[in-house]
Symmetry: C3
Amino acid sequence: MLSVKQIIQSLGSEVIQTFGDIECAYVTNINPIELVDINTLDWISNARKNKQEAAEASTAKVILCEPIVVFSKNIISQSKILIHVQNPKLALALIANKYFLSKPSPGIHSSTVIHLSAKISNSVYIGTNCSIGKCVIGENTCIFPNVTIHDNVTIGKNVIIQAGAVIGTDGLGCERNVDGSLVKFPHLGGVVIENDVEIGANCSIAKGAMSNTIIGEGCKINGLSFIAHNCILGKNVWITGSTMLSGSVTIDDNVTIYSKVIVREGLRIRKNSIIGMGSVVTKDIPAGETWFGNPAKKLIK
Amino acid sequence: MLSVKQIIQSLGSEVIQTFGDIECAYVTNINPIELVDINTLDWISNARKNKQEAAEASTAKVILCEPIVVFSKNIISQSKILIHVQNPKLALALIANKYFLSKPSPGIHSSTVIHLSAKISNSVYIGTNCSIGKCVIGENTCIFPNVTIHDNVTIGKNVIIQAGAVIGTDGLGCERNVDGSLVKFPHLGGVVIENDVEIGANCSIAKGAMSNTIIGEGCKINGLSFIAHNCILGKNVWITGSTMLSGSVTIDDNVTIYSKVIVREGLRIRKNSIIGMGSVVTKDIPAGETWFGNPAKKLIK
Amino acid sequence: MLSVKQIIQSLGSEVIQTFGDIECAYVTNINPIELVDINTLDWISNARKNKQEAAEASTAKVILCEPIVVFSKNIISQSKILIHVQNPKLALALIANKYFLSKPSPGIHSSTVIHLSAKISNSVYIGTNCSIGKCVIGENTCIFPNVTIHDNVTIGKNVIIQAGAVIGTDGLGCERNVDGSLVKFPHLGGVVIENDVEIGANCSIAKGAMSNTIIGEGCKINGLSFIAHNCILGKNVWITGSTMLSGSVTIDDNVTIYSKVIVREGLRIRKNSIIGMGSVVTKDIPAGETWFGNPAKKLIK
């Protein structure tokens, strides 16, 4: 049971205004649209048409919505509560993450094998059948099953590594000999994953050739992505899945890279830029621009 | 030893006509072209040129072929048997799957870790080093090594999950805060995999945000594909590999999606349509059409 | 401690000329640019501008470089040694691989499950939580954690299989029945991986339908790549990551395929050709050409 007062307090400046009698009101669940009941914390998506009608028709008592939804007679007569917020989806996510998601309890499953010299915080969860090398893992980090963490990897606090991911594998940069044979360039560096990062299922993050590959604070990298050796990601980079960054790519803060993108070796993508899905990026991208296509070009709005 | 009579009976209406003395005839193997012997069930591929010559030159006694191959004097003099079928490749596959492929015997390897509340049929095979959460797994389903099945996953009968696949991982939809930080949208749903589905090696299928991600009956999804949260696939969808469906994509029955395709969030691909390899799909696709390219466009035949 | 004489001897004909007093000189490490010290074996990258300045400014005593860097008064006054080589990056890789990289010691971790009929050389390393079927594994091969090797796989000497890779999974070629249902074509073949191959993390290599999928000697295939059934790769093919070869693709010797490429079923890519990243290859590619784009076209230089 979560009181509406607590919701409002948690959301802080995200809340614009509230309507209705919040005194003893509470919610008990969040639910998909077809399962909403009177105790659900409901929300009207930013993308939805007919927001007013949706709010009036909702079975729930408490509704997160944009200010465009008015506290109408119809809503008042149903004794509903409206919480006007900047971004209902964000508000719902903040509340759900705080109150409705159960993280796995700390502990390491006995089927997981851990290097004797690994340094692992007490509050870490590591699931079944993982392989953990000589690495450092910070507080409250969750590592799901079948993950491989190689030697020379440092993982911060509150990190989530989804199942099947491989962190710290060798890069595979090669030089061709005159006879055609391939000589692999040595990879002696490691991987640093900063706090609050999430790495999706079956991703691979290669260690650096000499120095480290770095995934900055708050980055979210969705499944089946491949971050090659010596990439350096700033804070809050979002990669939505199946994307590859070639070796030594630098991504600045707050960049969004949509799915199935490939970025050429050594490029730099500057702050706040956006790369459309399926793009083949062959040039540096300046700050704040949107690029897409094969080869990727700037979107002229 | 498999009698030709049994083959004909198994193929049912796929058989158009037979030629030669089938009374006591049998085959003992299926084999690649260079290893065909007199006891092989041979077949003349639909794609092959010189089908008549191929049938006449075959070392095998029993041959699946299209009606274009005639029961010539040459073939008669070799005492061969021709089985005219609609689609020789399909006919061979049906017979091979029924009589020549050995499925792993039911059983769960001791290295696999299973949640105490999982409900698993007796006839299920689960290979080594899997991680099986609080899920339901139906009869005759095969799960190969190193697979992760998360909580809240329901898998039907006769399903095959290839090695390294991850079923039911978190989606990673995010909202950006004003300060650039990413807030992950909660994923409380699950995954439903219906009967006769196959999921390829190292695929990932994310659970739904609120409701379920659904993979319909008979779908075949080849390796390294990523099906994001809340996708809904109808029956017999074929994805040939390395493809990504973004969140909330709907694919109707009998759609074929070739390899390395990306489909934008929320789109719907209607019945019997085909998407060419490497396509970047940015629009809904009507029924029965073929689309390809970046961005994908309709093929005008 | 590695003497300069030994370095020169190891590099053989790669060395063009040496300058400075090599008699008692030695190095003790290789290091990223920011950690170079007097005992580092330093190198001036082929891609670097101001090579002369870089060599003069280096803190290291021994430097691998192209002949364009001269043994200047400045360098002489610092008692440095220059080793002129054809390709400094290649030279550094050769020395690092020979003297500075520690391969895991032979041995098989107890958490790995191995088929009773597998034939595994004594000098093989197999990491934690692997699943090894009825296969053959040659001398000095390294298999990292969470790898699945299926039955009917033959792996040569000095092969490296990175974590999470799946070797010998079923192909998933299908024929559609008239009612839309998909019938999987049987896969009875295997996989042959020749000597000196490296397969990256979370790759998948499917077995052949009837005959084998073959990865030729010296091939290097980077992470998250998918080699489908019956592909035949010649020697020294380099695939830089996230690439898919559809079924029955033939790649001749010394081909380079950059990242996120898809090659259509049955095509042949001839000797020494290069395919640019993100390409969608829909035609055979003749020897020695460079192709890129969607669909891929020949680069006219």
